[in-house]
């Protein structure tokens, strides 16, 4: 004998309907929209200005789209814009920045991840003292160190060279990156490390075969931090390099602040966008990697 199916009464049934235009949604999306506009507006102005000729800019409508699109300011910014002395544009600075950023990022991340790994997993004698000193280093204001480092680099024969700046960036990245890696490695299950030791893996074996493959998210975070930090650095660049080896930020400053002739806003805007392009790209590319890394970590065995 089967029971008859139950009869549904009038009134609510199934999922509760949600109104798209509820007060909550209007408020939420309205706020988001205003904030987005606030941040997007300057970028918009920069882009349109960089695509206008000087006569059009002088008319003063900074929000209007260009009547006649021209890429000349971009070309000029890259290869012809004048700093105080030379007129070679941003290109030299760009390649200097590349030559500074790549080795600094790689070196600092390799060293810091090894530091963090040793601190988290191989509790060697004096590890805590070492760590305390390192973290203390993160709180020393850069200004205090500027001049002593000038002297040190001069004694080492690295003052004014790209190598000197790479060294400075590597050292200054150390405290925060080590902290980052140490905390991440500490959060990985300790039993994995123990299992690997029972399996006969040593310091390097565990680092390369167990730890690094599980650490894509933190390496991505470290890369984002370091690339943007080092690329955007101005202070160390201007202090520790010379005109031939200036990074891009310093070139940009020299172009924008050059006192000769008329202010070419379109070139300045183009130069600024070009300089910001690298960190922007890193955000977009590695942001996706980052999310994927987190997702992969969430289902770890």
């Amino acid at each position: 004998m089967t029971k008859p199916p139950p009869i549904l009464l009038d009134g609510p049934q199934g999922p509760k309907p949600r109104r798209v235009l509820s007060r909550r949604n209007i408020f939420l999306y309205g706020t988001l929209l205003v904030i987005t506009l606030y941040y997007a507006m300057p970028l918009y102005v920069m882009i349109v200005t960089s695509l206008k000729g000087m006569p059009e800019i002088r008319m003063g409508n900074i929000f209007s789209p260009p009547m006649e699109v021209t890429f000349e300011p971009w070309v000029k910014a890259w290869s012809q814009a004048c700093t105080g002395l030379t007129c070679k544009g941003l290109s030299t600075g760009f390649w200097n920045s590349v030559k500074i950023t790549i080795p600094s990022v790689i070196l600092s991340i390799i060293i810091a991840s090894l530091n963090g790994y040793a601190l988290a997993n191989w509790k060697f004698k004096g590890a805590n003292v070492f760590f305390t000193i390192l973290i203390f280093g993160a709180f020393i204001p850069y200004q205090v160190m500027l001049y002593p480092i000038v002297i040190m680099l001069r004694e080492m024969g690295l003052y004014g060279s790209l190598g000197g700046l790479v060294l400075v960036h590597t050292i200054f990245g150390m405290p925060i990156l080590t902290l980052l890696f140490r905390n991440y490695f500490s959060s990985l299950p300790e039993e994995l490390f123990k299992a690997a030791r029972v399996d006969g893996a040593g310091f390097w074996g565990i680092y390369f075969r167990i730890m690094v493959p599980m650490s894509l998210p933190i390496f991505t975070v470290a890369i984002i931090l370091q690339v943007t930090g080092i690329w955007n650095d101005f202070l160390f660049g201007v202090v520790y390099t010379g005109p031939e080896t200036y990074p891009m930020t310093v070139s940009l400053n020299n172009i924008v602040n050059s006192t000769q002739g008329v202010k070419e806003y379109n070139i300045n805007m183009a130069a600024t966008i070009i300089t910001g392009l690298v960190p922007l790209t890193i955000y977009f590319v590695s942001g996706r990697l980052f999310v994927r890394g987190i997702a992969a970590g969430a289902v770890k065995g």
Partner: protein, 373 residues
């Protein structure tokens, strides 16, 4: 009628020791976790370290494995002093509670990782992985990543990782704690089978007394970094050497009644139980303050009461039927007293029940030292 078989010979005949721990101390900074611990594990023995959380079981196991540097003392494995040896050189395999499978490697990669580190030839590695996979029935899983395995399968792989190492000593740190009850019971049987098949030494940490009783040849009950009693499951259950062990083992736990012994009679409130039949550890009755302990399942009920040496009448306060049994709560000499009755027994709350106590099945502990009398 069935004929009675002659008693079988005990399976475990301890020839020599597989693991010897001598005067072991372990401190974490100023925290003393293990103090002067001595323990011998026989070849082929299944030893279970049992104790509540935080009593130092894992710490002891990690010391044996070489994952912690000991503060003092020695550890010998297979008659070799391995106190300073690396974990991989000690001839041990270890299985962890959280499985600790390498997430980015396949099951096969997990099994072969240790063998590759030991630089074994490829053919040998493949051989051993296949044999381990065979024994544990994980062959179809070899190409999968740990994330694509169920809890039970993961734990099998973890056991396999110890198996491929072809070692004499297996260390288990609560390997079944992360599994649900059904799987836990299944894998428990599998581990026992595995032990019978491999006949290697196993040291198994757990806080679950059922696991300990069912698996162990001998159990070491730990508390605060010390071994309270070391013995076969029968000894631990039947002859607990102190009140802690008596209380820890058995569920529901032993009933305790505080009182005193005078001239071979235990008195507490209006109880006066003659201790004829109780075997004192010293051979003769001791006078003084004492605690009487008796397991709920050793209290005599029903028709057998008339044959028991001592009887009391109690009022039933609460009944907990578990299907196979009924647990009865009542009061004896001002203490909560629990009795296990047959599941079919007819009792109701408020009823007066006659219970029998046999001193031969009870335990007596010194009131001050809590040591068995």
């Amino acid at each position: 009628m069935c004929a009675v078989l002659p008693p079988a010979l005990s399976r475990v005949e301890i020839m020599s020791n597989s693991i010897e721990i001598k005067n072991l101390d372990l401190n974490f900074g100023s925290i003393e976790v293990l103090q002067n611990l001595n323990l011998d594990v026989g070849k082929g023995e299944f030893l279970v370290l049992l104790g509540s959380s935080g009593c130092g079981k894992s710490t002891l196991l990690n010391c044996i494995a070489g994952l912690l540097d000991v503060t003092a003392g020695q550890i010998h494995i297979n008659n070799k002093n391995v106190t300073w040896a690396e974990p991989s050189e000690r001839g041990i395999g270890m299985v962890f509670q959280s499985y600790a499978l390498y997430p980015q490697m396949t099951v096969e990669g997990n099994l072969s990782f240790g063998l590759k580190n030991a630089k074994l030839p490829k053919a040998e590695i493949a051989d051993r992985v296949k044999r381990a996979a065979d024994i544990l029935q994980i062959e179809p899983l070899l190409k999968r990543k740990p994330a694509a395995l169920s809890g039970g399968q993961r734990q099998r792989v973890a056991i396999g990782r110890a198996l491929v190492r072809d070692v004499d000593v297996f260390l288990f740190d609560e390997p079944l704690s992360n599994l649900d009850a059904k799987l836990r019971a299944d894998l428990r049987v599998e581990i026992k089978r595995l032990h019978q098949k491999l006949e290697n030494t196993m040291v198994y940490v757990t806080h679950d007394q059922i696991e300990a009783m069912t698996l162990a040849d001998r159990i070491a009950i730990m508390r605060g970094g010390k071994i309270m009693q070391l013995g076969t499951p029968d000894e631990i259950y039947g002859l607990p050497m102190n009140k802690y062990v008596a209380d820890f083992i058995g569920s529901p736990s032993m009933n305790f009644i505080d009182g005193s012994i005078q001239n071979g009679v235990f008195t507490a409130g209006d109880l006066a139980i003659s201790l004829t039949g109780y075997e004192f550890t010293s051979g003769e009755a001791v006078d003084g303050g004492a605690t009487l302990g008796i397991r709920p399942e050793h209290v005599i009920t029903g028709e057998l009461v008339s044959h028991s040496p001592y009887c009391i009448d109690v009022e039933v306060e609460l009944i907990e039927p578990t299907g196979s049994d009924k647990l009865i709560d009542c009061q004896v000499a001002g203490h909560l007293f629990r009795v296990r009755m047959d599941g079919q027994a007819q009792v109701s709350v408020g009823e007066v029940l006659r219970l029998g106590i046999d001193p031969a099945r009870a335990s007596l502990f010194d009131a001050a030292t809590e040591v068995r009398l």
